[in-house]
Symmetry: C2
């Protein structure tokens, strides 16, 4: 099938999610023309998933589409941004109309779920990978970075960790399409991560720093601490666990797309209310302190433990 | 070398081009925080270059860096947008500190040349490819799309076509680093395309439609005609040629990153002044007419000719 026919098929499948608030010119021109609400800043992040590395070779096209968009959007959640626009660049050795439409179908399902418009993209021949760039916005000065945490703030994590890691042990991980995934399955955690978007927005003005723990809490909390110039000791027994996961694995495995964030102790009541309102567990796991060597140390049952570093891209 | 060390090296090399107008938070957080001037729209485009397909395997890292950013920016030129921000996603099987720094050096040189800030990115292990997403802006309603050309408008192309195509015939195309490229060489046209940014901005309010002819004039002019619902006959003898290029090849080869645009006949004087001011050739090549089957037909010396379609990504 001809490139332009393939693009037409993909664009047709994405039509319902290619327009919307702020989209003046969507896919099909040299570039998209977009509008950001006045008084708001633009928030931009990019993520690449490589077949055989970030997901199994030969995985279902719809699952790849959904996951590629969801994981990129998780970075917007960590900033307290509202999603607005995405571009999607697909590289594949072969591209059939059927595969392309299923892939676009997965993208469309995620785009509708998270309220983001697909405004442009690219297809090229090469080893299979997907690069998604997401755009969101937040009121001027409201975005939450990694760098504002203070001595005395408490660190919290959202949700339950280790679910997606359990899915990685499934031999048939690559054979699941979206419709077959059960709500209570770790496989659904892996293929259909649910970025903490509403919670991220609710944390504006409350969290002093936040990070998406996509590479695993052990790496990502370390990044937050270093960026903020603080340190913390984390007790593995305090990590909220997905059923069946162990803490030592859960903090080192990525792919959960939960958030870690810091907030002053006096916000505890506000955080409990936010957690209830959004139906998301928010668990305090440590207290930050000034430290000449910023970073994290770990212990369990009063004994220091070595945790593996999180996901390494190289 | 560890991923985070590699990223630190790349970020350090890009430091001078990672800040600037509108960059509130640059590389190193979950996402960049950016500002678009009020009264302006955001213009976004994404492009992927795959090693061995869009440039030779084993090419010099600095040349890859420069070219990957320049070709993406060309889409902003076609919209009449001013460049502002870029994210860069690099996938490579192996990544040494030396290669990464040379690559970042090429990116930095292009970013400085075109006035764009590198605000974020990603590295991942996989077959070598680069995906660049560029962001620009234009005053509300001023962006030039492919779709506004009218019956009676004249089609123009910028510059001289076929130069980059000549470079593709060079057996040693992949061995050139930026410093070795001579100004008058087709190799420089290939590795260091110069997007027509100032010309694109000058065309606001004058051009009724424009397109980046990155895939070759034969394909891209066809896209403009179809998007605008018009047709044209183009005489190959009118194509402005790079020294040594032939028209039949020049219209089918991509990689020149010139613009094709439509403008009403009465703007001829204004276009001549713009061409002089910016030192860029602007050559009228055809007149558009209403057509029940929009598109382009080609002839030479009064005889219809078949031109090859432009670059096919699939």
């Amino acid at each position: 099938m001809d490139e332009f026919e393939l693009i037409e098929r993909i664009v047709a499948r994405l039509r319902d999610v290619a327009s919307g608030r702020g989209v003046v010119v969507g896919p099909g021109d040299d570039a998209a023309v977009l509008e950001i609400p006045s008084g708001h800043q633009l928030i931009v992040s990019t993520d690449t998933l490589v077949a055989g590395r970030h997901y199994p070779d030969g995985a279902c096209a719809d699952a790849i589409g959904y996951r590629s968009l969801a994981v990129a959007i998780s970075d917007l959640a960590a900033m307290g941004a509202k999603p607005a626009f995405a571009t999607v660049s697909l590289t594949a050795e072969e591209l059939t109309a059927n595969w392309a439409e299923r892939y676009a179908g997965g993208l469309a399902e995620a785009a509708a779920a998270f309220g983001i418009a697909i405004v442009g993209g690219n297809i090229a021949r090469g080893a299979e990978s997907v690069t998604v760039t997401v755009h969101g916005h937040a009121p001027n000065g409201a975005a939450i970075t990694r760098a504002g945490a203070q001595h005395g703030d408490r660190v919290h994590v959202t949700g339950y960790l280790g679910g997606a890691g359990l899915a990685l042990g499934d031999e048939n991980l690559g054979e699941w399409s979206l419709v077959a995934l059960r709500d209570d399955s770790p496989l659904k955690r892996y293929w259909m991560p649910q970025p903490r978007l509403k919670l991220g927005v609710a944390l504006r003005g409350i969290a002093t720093a936040a990070i998406d723990i996509s590479d695993g809490l052990s790496s990502d909390l370390d990044h937050l601490c270093r960026a903020s110039g603080v340190g913390c000791e984390v007790d593995l027994n305090k990590i909220p666990l997905y059923p069946g996961a162990t803490a030592i694995d859960a903090v080192a495995m990525g792919d959960d797309y939960e958030l870690a964030f810091a907030a002053p102790r006096e916000t505890t009541g506000a955080l409990e209310a936010i957690a209830r309102r959004h139906g998301v567990a928010v668990t305090p796991i440590a207290t930050l302190r000034n430290d000449a060597r910023p970073g994290t140390t770990w212990f369990q049952d009063g004994v220091p433990v070595d945790v593996r570093p999180g996901y390494r891209h190289f």
